[in-house]
């Protein structure tokens, strides 16, 4: 039950301690990511039935939806880490926020791109100024803002605190994305997964989507860990332990 004790977390959340832990975790999640992706794609593209109105093009959904979900989820996660870093100024959580941003931006872009790609056959246009599409686009800009603000400030401490505040402010956009389909009469189709009245779609499709989502999750974790390790080295480069690690005698 060490996991539950506070001291344990304090230890682990010290960059020095976390660095090797992250190193150990990476291979596992890499494996998970690869396996789930393969399974998910197989189910999505071979097991799941052809859609009776959209034909094969609908299969984009297996990339699009998980990507879209991740884009929002990662932003929330990033904002939480940033907030923790801002309030209790714990160095590691700020670093995690920094490490998550690019992955989030990537998934946002994928959601936009696959969506646009999908839009052509279904709506006859790559892009329409529809509430959901727009708010997703804003999400991309928010990621860009977060990244460029951090890049623009020299002092890492200040940089992470400033961008944390920005991330928190930008949080308002996420519910807008999610509920846009409810609030406006959008071209984009509404949520077909709701907790109250089950799901409206084929079971295999649903499973394929969920599996892809978990695959993306695993990928996110891997990417974040890899990046956070780099960030740790970069920011702690003057501490002894990094010195020893890199074999630079102090």
């Amino acid at each position: 039950m060490r996991i539950l004790s506070k001291s344990f977390w304090l230890q682990v959340s010290a960059p020095k301690a976390f660095y090797p832990v992250a190193g150990k975790l990476i291979p596992w999640f890499t494996a998970i990511a690869i396996i789930l992706t393969l399974v998910g794609l197989y189910m999505g593209f071979f097991v799941a039935p052809t859609d009776f109105q959209q034909g094969e093009s609908y299969r984009i959904i297996f990339i699009h939806v998980p990507a879209a979900w991740m884009s929002m989820l990662i932003y929330v996660l990033m904002a939480c880490y940033a907030a923790i870093g801002l309030i209790w100024n714990t160095r590691l959580s700020s670093m995690m926020a920094t490490a998550l941003a690019p992955t989030g931006a990537m998934f946002t872009f994928i959601a936009l791109w696959t969506g646009a790609f999908w839009g052509k056959p279904t709506w006859g246009a790559y892009w329409v100024w529809d509430a959901r599409l727009t708010s997703e686009l804003i999400l991309l800009f928010l990621y860009f803002g977060f990244i460029s603000l951090q890049a623009a400030i020299d002092d890492p401490q200040r940089a992470s605190r400033a961008s944390a505040l920005l991330a928190l402010v930008g949080l308002v956009n996420v519910p807008i994305i999610y509920f846009s389909v409810k609030w406006w009469n959008t071209l984009h189709q509404g949520s077909s997964l709701n907790l109250d009245k089950g799901s409206s779609m084929e079971a295999t499709m649903l499973w394929a989507m969920l599996i892809m989502t978990f695959a993306f999750w695993a990928y996110t974790i891997v990417a974040a860990l890899l990046r956070v390790r780099a960030v740790i080295l970069e920011r702690e480069r003057h501490s002894e332990w990094v010195g020893e690690l890199l074999g630079v005698g102090k």
């Binding site: 509430a131 800009f141 803002g145 200040r158 920005l166 930008g170 956009n173 807008i176």
Partner: protein, 206 residues
């Protein structure tokens, strides 16, 4: 006296922006009426942004900001007063001239009414949100544009509902929802933004 000059420019700016569109669109009053709300609202956004990077920078350079941080009254109050001043020169003028611009673009009386209301509620939100951005980008490389990069996305919801309200009434639909959402934004912004901006300033001065 200085204020009056500033207000004048902003008004001037609006007139130019708004009169640029008939140029592209040509005189068809139909199209003009169609795009009027959007154009005016975008003008509002841009005007708010134009003056944003001057919100704190002068005080930052000459050390007044330090004095504000260690002043006896809470920083957020001082910040709020600065935000108010910003709105008075960037937002209020538009609210006042918008009826004229609306007519120029061939809007009917009712829509103009809604336009004015939406602007009156919406533009303060712009100044409030903007202040946070201004605080964050203080003394940062490439400040002005970075600022707009941060702020514009957050402006967009305001724009959507503001212009949306007017378009709704123009197409004879229900606009109450839009306006009340704007009001909700305003209240939230009023509660959070001054505090946010104050925090941002503290961060940038540390």
């Amino acid at each position: 006296m200085r204020r009056r000059a500033e207000v004048l420019t902003v008004v001037f700016f609006f007139v130019i922006v708004v009169s640029l569109f008939p140029l592209g669109v040509g005189p068809e009053i139909e199209t003009l009426r169609l795009i009027a709300p959007g154009v005016i609202w975008v003008a509002a956004l841009l005007a708010s942004m134009l003056s944003l990077d001057r919100l704190f920078s002068a005080d930052y350079v000459d050390g007044t900001l330090e004095q504000m941080l260690i002043a006896a009254q809470p920083l957020s109050v001082l910040v709020l007063s600065k935000i108010l001043a910003h709105w008075v020169v960037s937002g209020l003028p538009l609210v006042l001239v918008s009826p004229v611009l609306g007519m120029q673009l061939g809007m009917d009386v009712e829509s103009i009414g809604v336009l004015v209301v939406s602007l009156a509620i919406g533009t303060p939100v712009l100044s409030l949100i903007g202040a946070v951005g201004a605080g964050l980008t203080l003394g940062v490389r490439g400040g002005g544009v970075l600022l707009s990069l941060l702020v514009l996305p957050l402006y967009i919801p305001v724009l959507i509902f503001g212009a949306g309200a007017v378009e709704a009434v123009q197409s004879g639909m229900e606009y109450g929802a839009h306006v009340s959402l704007l009001a909700a934004f305003l209240i939230t912004a009023l509660l959070l933004a001054p505090w946010g901006a104050a925090t941002a300033l503290k961060i940038s001065l540390d």
